[in-house]
Structure formats: structure tokens, C-alpha cells
Symmetry: C2
Subunit: 321 residues, 2 copies
């Protein structure tokens, strides 16, 4: 049983090769450039771990992991266009460096290349893997569309936000684990439990991300603290605050969200605290983490096989209180 | 043996249904809107014809035809963004009506849905069909990128232009026929001949399109005559004229291409004629049509089975002397 770090290193070595033809360079070099930027490769490693939970890692899991990582990068390239993001990991995004048209097409061909990798998987698993891959790919698109729709809304309900997070982030983590488990020969029930572990872990991770964006220590967080606040992003904190606020607090919220004053971040942080959103959010995170771990515990394999996934859950989500 | 029109009507009926979930409507309704615009459905019908050349049309051919048509519409939605086209078939394009971000995402999910259709194909054919589909999808992206690259170049060689046309247009027609033939149980040699028939027919069709854009009868052509000339598009006519022109003619060409005067179309037409490009282009079209038909004749099935494809070739490409 290998832990996340060992598998991440192994996958990094395996994945670090040219994935595209050389010509036309105007199409394929942007994709090679983007893949060279690196990344944590969380999804393919989850796939390998899902496989190893039930059996030795098979050759198919490397093809599948590659497909999953290419798919993830396809979504990043297209999302960066939609978000008009100039930078990712400190480097120019594809559309910024090569133009939006090339970025659209480069993303498209990245997605097709993911399907080329999937087509290397053994006959016995091909259809069921394709089925989950396609379903998940559609859900990720739905989540991105919901996220864009939310930007235009005055307010978003807690249920709608959870749904969006699940689709945009969690299902891809969950499906990586599940498809890996299929390659390990897992039965339906164990697959479902592992899927739910990944899904709830993903939600807990997003809740933590929302919290850290407002209350994180800048040096540790790696992003500018208060970015979501400045952008009026409907996060777990804002959604709870909007629901819990008094009439006077709602008025202040509205004023802050319509005027980008220099003290906006500090005042919003105070409002979050006054409405107890920070405490509520941490409790919510713990709830999802606990549920994720309960699903993992229910999986019918020896506990020691689950140790790397449990370790990963605690590494990704820091328990508060 | 059914002819193109009969199969086009049958496929039209089969395809005329909802292809996407209802929610989120902001993502899926744009795709339904776009599919409702209609189209000639040439590619799926080629797939059905490729199947029927060798055997009765199987259920798989309808799934495959649906996947091929969804793929084609995905390329149209994304191409329209890149070309900044406001209209298609007289109606607003997806990005024009719903915004570029939604158009990117709607196209993405259209492509994934094409793969969902492919995953309905029988086990026995799934991998080989996926393999050709993926290869062709990449080539179509390459062709679109080359087309965009050409816009920025002063001149393009005949060989480069043929290559671009093949990738952007012909391979999709060729692959539709070939994958249909696979479902009909065709052997490798017959598959290749049918592929080459489609590939050369596609090139002949593009040559004809280039010719009609400059010399077509407006009422028959359906598009504005001279559009390519006004946009300085590197067509077969322009490429030949640039190669054949005298120094004085080159100077005039350059002047016309850098000044959008009101007599630009008329003067360019005259230059094409003076350089004999119109005659050369018609000969080239006939050459590709003849080669296409020769490939069809070489296929080892009874001549009467080939009749609908031969008829289609002559319907699509009008022979000029």
C-alpha cells in the first residue's frame, strides 16, 4: 500500500512526457506548455489509490489516470478563458499567451486525447469506465455553468451552492476513486461507498477553501486572502451570513457589496464573525469530513488497506476544534 | 439499397428528439436550440450508406450517426466563436445569442454527449470505432487551427491548402463512411477504398465551393458571391493566381488585397480569369471527383450496391468541362 506522496511522485514521472504530436505546433505546443506547468495530480493519484484499495495497481490504471488528468487540464484551459484569468500557478494561461481561439481548440483536442487514453483500457472494463467518465464530464460542465449563473444572481441558496460544488469539484474526485476501484475488481457497494467518500471529501475541501479565502494566513494559503470577498463570490460564508443577518447587517452587507471600499475585506470579515458564519462553516466542514470517513470505514476491505486514503483525508482537510 | 434523400429523411426523424437533460437549462437549451436549426445531416447519412454498402443497416449505425452529427455540431458551435460569426442558416449562433462562455461549455458538453452515444455501440466494434473517431476528431481540430494560422500568412502553398482542407473537411466525411462500413463487416481493403472515396469527394466539394464563391450564380449559391475575395481568403483560386501571375498582375493583386475598393470582386474575378485559375480549378475538381469514383469502383461489392453513393457523388459535385 503506497501513500499519496509516493504515488504522486510515480505518476508525475509517468505523466512527464510529450502527450501530443509535434504538428501543427500552433495547436499542440500550447497544450504541452500547459501540462508542463505541473499541478498536484490529485485526481489520477486518487484513481491509483482506488485501484490499490482492492488489488495491485494495473496497467489500465495508468491509462485511466492519464485520461483523468488530461480531462482536468482541459477543464482548466476552458475555465481560464471563461474566468478571463491571466495567470495560473504564476504563469500565463493558455488564452493569455496564445489567444482565446487557440485555447478553445487546444482544450478541445486535450479532451479528445483523454478519450484516446481511455481507449487503451482492457475490453472488460472499457464500457463501464467510459460510462462513468462521460457522466462525470457532463456533471463538471453543469457545475461550471451553475457557477457562472450564480455570478449574475443576487443570492444563492445553501442547497444550490452545495449542488454546484458537488458537480464542479466533488464528482471528479469521487469518480477518479470509483473508476480506479472498478479496475481493482471492487463490487458495486464498495464502489458506491468509495464514491461517496470522495464526494464528501470534495465538499469538505471546498468549504475549507471558502473559509481560508476569508480567514486564512496569507503565507500558508498561497492566494490573496479576501479574493472571494472582493469579487462578491457566493461562498459558504456569504450564503450563511445573508441568511443569518439582521436587517441592519443586511443593509451593511448590501452597501459593502456594491461599494469596493478599501476596508471592504475587514468589514466583511467582521460581519461573517458577527453572524457566526466562521463557526458554522467550520462545523459544516467537520460534518462532511466525518461523513466521508464513515463511508471509507464501511468499505469491506481490511483497515490497513484504507490507511493511505484516511491519511490523505486528514492531510487535505485540517480538523478544527 | 436506399438513396441519400431517403436516408436523410429517416435520420432526420430519428435525430429529431431532445438530446440533453433539461437542467441546467442555461447550459442545455442552447444546444437544443442549435440542433433545432437543422442541417443536411450529410455525415450520419454517409455512415448509414457506408453500413448499407456491405450489409443491412444495424442499430449501431444509428448511435454512431448520432455521435457523428453531435460531433459535427460541437465543431460548428466552437468554430462560430472563433470566426465571430453572428449567424448560421439565417439564425443567431450560440455565442451570439447566449454568450461566448456558454457557447464554449455547450460545445464541450455536446462533444461528451457524442461519446455517450458511441458507448452504446456493440462491444465487438466499440474500440475500433472509438479509435477512428478520436483520430478524426483530432484531425478536424488540426485543420481548424491550420485554417486560423493561414489567415495570418501572406501566402499559402497549394500543398498546405490541400492538407488543411483534408483535415478540416474531408476526413470527417471519409471516417463517417469508413466507420459505417466497419459496422457492415467490411474488410480492411474495402474500408480504405471507401475512406479514400470520401476523402477525395470532400476535396472536390471544397474546390467547387471555392469556385462558386467567386463565380457562382448568386440565386443558386445561397451565399454572397465574392465573400472569400472580400476576406482575402486563401482559396484554390487565389493560390493558383498568386503562383501564375506576372509581376504586374502580382502588383495589382497586392493592391486589391490591401484596399477594399468597391470594384474589388469584379477586378479579382478578372485576374483569376486572366491567370486561368478558373479553368485550372475546374480541372482540379474533376480530377478529384474522378479519383473518388475510381476508389468506389475498386470496392469489392456488387455495382448496384454502390449506386446510391455514385449518385450522391454526382449530386454533390457537378461535372464541368
Amino acid at each position: 500500500m503506497k501513500n499519496f506522496e509516493t504515488l504522486a511522485e510515480q505518476f508525475g514521472t509517468y505523466f512527464n512526457k510529450r502527450h501530443f504530436p509535434t504538428e501543427p505546433a500552433t495547436l499542440y505546443d500550447p497544450n504541452e506548455y500547459f501540462l508542463q506547468m505541473g499541478g498536484k495530480r490529485i485526481r489520477p493519484v486518487l484513481c491509483l489509490m482506488g485501484n490499490e484499495l482492492f488489488d495491485e495497481i494495473s496497467e489500465d490504471a495508468w491509462y485511466l489516470g492519464t485520461a483523468i488528468e488530461l480531462f482536468h487540464n482541459f477543464t482548466l484551459i476552458h475555465d481560464d478563458i471563461m474566468d478571463e484569468a491571466p495567470l495560473r500557478r504564476g504563469k500565463e494561461t493558455v488564452h493569455q499567451k496564445f489567444g482565446s481561439n487557440t485555447a478553445i481548440l487546444a482544450g478541445d483536442v486535450m479532451l479528445v486525447t483523454a478519450y484516446e487514453e481511455l481507449n487503451k483500457i482492457s475490453e472488460h472494463y472499457l464500457r463501464s469506465i467510459l460510462s462513468i467518465f462521460n457522466k462525470t464530464a457532463k456533471e463538471v460542465c453543469e457545475g461550471q455553468q451553475m457557477d457562472m449563473d450564480f455570478e449574475k444572481l443576487e443570492s444563492v441558496s445553501y442547497d444550490e451552492y452545495i449542488k454546484m460544488i458537488e458537480l464542479k469539484t466533488s464528482v471528479a474526485l469521487a469518480a477518479s476513486l470509483q473508476t480506479g476501484a472498478i479496475l481493482g475488481g471492487a463490487g458495486q457497494r464498495n464502489q458506491e461507498l468509495l464514491y461517496d467518500f470522495g464526494r464528501k471529501l470534495g465538499i469538505a475541501f471546498q468549504i475549507q477553501d471558502d473559509y481560508l479565502d476569508a480567514f486564512g494566513v496569507p503565507e500558508k494559503f498561497g492566494k490573496q486572502v479576501g479574493g472571494d470577498i472582493m469579487a462578491n463570490k457566493k461562498t459558504f460564508l456569504l450564503i450563511h451570513t445573508l441568511e443569518a443577518a439582521s436587517a441592519a447587517q443586511k443593509k451593511e452587507l448590501h452597501h459593502l457589496m456594491t461599494h469596493n471600499t478599501t476596508d471592504k475585506v475587514a468589514k466583511m470579515q467582521q460581519l461573517f464573525i458577527d453572524c457566526n458564519a466562521n463557526e458554522w462553516v467550520l462545523k459544516l466542514k467537520n460534518k462532511y469530513l466525518d461523513e466521508a470517513i464513515a463511508h471509507l470505514e464501511d468499505i469491506a476491505v481490511l483497515s490497513k488497506r484504507k490507511a493511505p486514503l484516511l491519511e490523505l483525508a486528514h492531510y487535505l482537510i485540517k480538523r478544527d476544534h
